[in-house]
């Protein structure tokens, strides 16, 4: 993945994107390893560079708590928007499905950079808002589809 392909950096010039990415450090994850746990402090935002990351939530299956897939993230996509939104706690668990590499951008460094470069902060924040809005719309539709099923089961 090149820096310009990161969805979080859409609309930035290559120089601006490179400056944001200069804040990041690369993290290698072996297949099956955990990037962050549900409820952990969200101090960094991540961008998938290589591999595949699953986002899961615990669900009771046959009276056992099991991590159930909610979403997957592939190269270019961002993970951990909770780092940008109070109370800064991860609301999902992230695990590498393959050997993966992510770029970790610390929130403190990012917000400090945005304060000195508000034009970059505006674009990145708008991209993050767009991604959150898309996710909200998808999950609204998924929720309604499940509700529809519940109603059909109750009335059949």
């Amino acid at each position: 993945m090149s820096v310009s392909q990161a969805e979080l950096l859409n609309g930035l010039s290559p120089a601006q994107a490179a400056q944001v990415m200069a804040l990041a450090t690369s993290i290698r994850l072996a297949s099956g390893s955990t990037l962050f746990e549900l409820g952990a402090a969200a101090d960094s935002l991540f961008v998938v560079e290589h591999g595949r990351i699953s986002l899961t939530l615990p669900m009771q299956v046959c009276k056992h708590a099991q991590d159930v897939l909610i979403e997957e993230r592939v190269p270019g996509q961002a993970i951990g928007w909770s780092a940008l939104i109070p109370p800064h706690r991860f609301t999902l668990k992230a695990t590498a499905l393959l050997d993966s590499e992510v770029l970790s951008i610390p929130r403190d460094a990012l917000t400090a950079y945005f304060e000195t470069h508000p034009d970059v902060g505006y674009v990145v924040t708008r991209n993050a808002a767009e991604m959150m809005g898309q996710r909200l719309q998808v999950f609204q539709a998924m929720w309604l589809r499940e509700m529809q099923r519940v109603v059909e089961l109750r009335t059949s």
């Binding site: 299956v61 056992h64 159930v68 897939l69 998808v138 539709a141 998924m142 099923r149 089961l153």
Partner: protein
């Protein structure tokens, strides 16, 4: 006359009862054997109660795979709705084994 007829009737009934008891003494009742024809019939008109007692147990690994497939299919359907928001795309069916129509079977 009436009394003699009645007495003879009672004696006849008593003798018949004694003979019946003597004939059936020592014979154990045979266990009821299910009628094969009845076993082949559905046990209930609307539902087969044998099916409810012997509900197949799905291994947890299979169930987890079904849930994962369901989530992927549902997410794809929801993405389709987001791209083209209509009532039809919102209600579009998937082949998920956990969808309502499958669960009812």
């Amino acid at each position: 006359m009436f009394l003699s007829v009645m007495t003879l009737s009672l004696i006849g009934v008593a003798v018949a009862a004694l003979l019946f008891a003597a004939a059936t003494r020592g014979a154990t009742p045979a266990p009821p054997t299910p009628d094969e024809r009845l076993l082949r019939l559905p046990s209930h008109f609307f539902a087969d109660d044998r099916a409810t007692h012997a509900r197949p147990v799905i291994p947890i690994e299979v169930l987890l795979l079904q849930i994962e497939r369901h989530v992927r299919l549902e997410q794809a359907a929801a993405e389709s709705f987001r791209a083209r928001p209509t009532a039809e795309t919102l209600q579009s069916a998937t082949t998920s084994p956990l969808s309502g129509s499958q669960m009812l079977n």
